[in-house]
Symmetry: C2
Subunit: 180 residues, 2 copies
Amino acid sequence: MMQVTSFEAEAAMAAPGKNQDHRLYLEDLDVGRRFTSATHAIDEAQIKGFATQFDPQPFHLDDAAAKATLFGGLAASGWHTAAITMRLLVESGLPLSGGIVGAGGEINWPKPTRPGDILQVVSEVEEVVPSRSRPDRGMVRVRSETRNQRGEVVQVLLAKLIVPRRAATSPQPHGELAAG
Amino acid sequence: MMQVTSFEAEAAMAAPGKNQDHRLYLEDLDVGRRFTSATHAIDEAQIKGFATQFDPQPFHLDDAAAKATLFGGLAASGWHTAAITMRLLVESGLPLSGGIVGAGGEINWPKPTRPGDILQVVSEVEEVVPSRSRPDRGMVRVRSETRNQRGEVVQVLLAKLIVPRRAATSPQPHGELAAG
């Protein structure tokens, strides 16, 4: 788990490269490079908890009701699968300098996530595009497949991420202002 | 708020049209039809709570650290904006028969969601395609813009949704089995 105090995080953000040499810059990301996250086990309580808060529909809340629907049984909200995928990417699946900052993307859920599933995210760099207007960053397109314990793909995310360049001129040290 | 007991939900799912005459079928959805949701006020505690659980990065967790980043201050995780959007759609923004069942879509976050924002979702039907293989349903493409209190768009979601047809032959009453 990435545990950072706010000061460390601030320093890392303000001065790329400091305290996070293991994290990757735009220059480090070749097309085809792959990453595999840790795993997350999802259970009925998590599924119902997320659904109660964000997606209160019978197929995400009640196993008996879900049986009568398209899902044929309790299934996690797709947004819950997306949120778990994000946590896996942030903590272990995609060690990017500057963190994982998405501008958007495409998302698909080929199969439902079920109680008892053990999720893992496999990501592959598909495109690397340095910014023409901002020499300190670029855009990376990453395909992240979220798979269950049987290797079935429950989510495909094609994300456009903003990634800093190693060679960038350091921006103004806003971190020091913010720390004051 | 849509409050359904599991029995009512089950009945509604198993026997489309029953107990949910106000909800819309494929036939009711013309291209250009628009829907406006209720509103949701997001605050710092919600932003940090979601981020702690699903997107633990400094710009979603700590205001001072966030100032030193691309975001320039605390911002909600895009997945949090997506989850709130889903709740608004489920409860008030898109009254579909059978609920809101997404196969996938495109998502973009043109601006960050900030503490104090009041979010509302405006949706428009962009395409309606009856299924060729399944006479009981079809696909609807809906564009949902999530806007803040200044009318700025913080998220655009182009979702492909599965919607039942009114004229469908009722499927096997799995609901009764499930209730037994």
